[in-house]
Symmetry: C2
Subunit: 245 residues, 2 copies
């Protein structure tokens, strides 16, 4: 892990960009973090495109820092400056064509779009976790927050350092993810935007139903994909407050 | 309105039982309430049977009082010491028979069970509201919290003094209630117990979808009818904090 930039934000948060095996990422640590007082870490999931997502990621990172948590994110495979995958680009094109034609998006397209992304991204997030937890001032436990929900589900299943997850329902859900969800046991807080244009509400409800966790909560709010209300963010922060301290 | 008992609880809350036109009720006011500093009021809905429901109602009233709100409830028609209705008792018996036989509960039974209750209960709650708001120390705005969800929906629709409602999905939903829900506009916070034995989850989701309110949130938690987790109550309290102050 190599830091490429460092700046102290106005609220005292330290923002550092890094690369890890060529993958760009960002780490935010609260002013309170120190080697003698390491803070829990929240991994910030997103749909890909760190530059485009930066304002919203920063907002979430500031909230995490205010709650005493570090936050970090890495670019997804095939997004931002990372090389495109022919398979994913083809699946994306097929998806756009189906949606433009008003056709239902077939399970086969969803699998082609999401499953290779999960296969590649999850080991990358785990490698980032190794590097981040080795830094002074960053400790456990670790939370995952965000989309892609299939990535969050796989991480919650295979990565024992993830103690709790806030998952954003709002991306396509392969059938294989629903099966994995049945074996997830960490506490979950699922956010669903009720009127998300690009989201299959029933698929999100079915996925929520499938999770094996003894504690799981669904917060559905009126509005589209990017219209998550402020109080929904506050509730997610309270969830991490209960589970990461 | 005639007070029949009065006691100061250990946390300073004043608990008063009353009757209004022969209907029993309970009013809880926080120690801070005074004629010069009137507090908002939360009406505590319930499925009927004040004595049986008392421990849970008291818990909710204490939470309301801690947040600076008065809370009040009245007995439902045909419950507790109030005279039974032949129509409702017959519908209840038909419902039990259908459920015991593992049959789906028909819309006709639901209508017979719930609609007369709504017709009778809503004017009673409104009369109670008139009397309660005339008391020194009780002001507006008013919130409704609880089930029966068809009663809460009707109240939210017809009673302009209701500024916000926390509705418990967990009772049967007549089709007429879904139609009324489309015209409800106050901010709503709907609690759904995901594994509620006696509840049709899909009917609850359809009702949530129908509400016309620009602000509506669904909080679904794992567990059965009475298993609402503490943090779900906290979130509902925060909702009232945003809307009743």
């Amino acid at each position: 892990m190599r830091f490429t930039s460092e700046q102290r934000l106005d609220d005292g948060v330290l923002e550092r960009e890094f690369t890890l095996d060529g993958i760009p990422g960002i780490l935010w640590t609260p002013a309170t973090a120190s080697p003698s007082a390491p803070v829990p870490l929240i991994l910030l999931g997103h749909p890909g495109g760190l530059q485009r997502m930066y304002p919203r990621l920063l907002d979430r990172a500031r909230q995490s820092a205010a709650d005493g948590f570090a936050a970090a994110t890495v670019e997804l495979p095939g997004s931002g400056d990372r090389p495109r995958s022919a398979v994913t680009e083809q699946a994306r094109a097929d998806l756009r064509r189906a949606m433009a034609a008003g056709e239902p998006v077939g399970a086969e397209i969803v699998d082609r779009l999401v499953l290779p992304l999960v296969e590649q991204a999850v080991p990358e997030w785990r490698a980032a976790l190794d590097a981040l937890l080795a830094l002074p001032g960053i400790g456990g436990p670790v939370g995952y927050s965000g989309g892609v929900i299939a990535i969050g589900t796989r991480l919650a299943l295979v990565e024992p350092r993830i103690a709790a997850a806030v998952l954003f329902a709002g991306s396509f859900v392969p059938a294989a993810t629903v099966e994995e969800a049945r074996r997830v046991t960490v506490p979950l807080h699922v956010l669903l935007q009720w009127d998300d244009e690009g989201n299959d509400r029933q698929a999100s409800l079915d996925l929520f139903d499938a999770f094996g966790s003894a504690e799981k909560t669904l917060h559905a709010n009126l509005g589209g994909h990017t219209g998550v209300p402020r109080y929904a963010g506050d509730a997610a922060a309270q969830f991490f407050g209960r589970h990461l301290r």
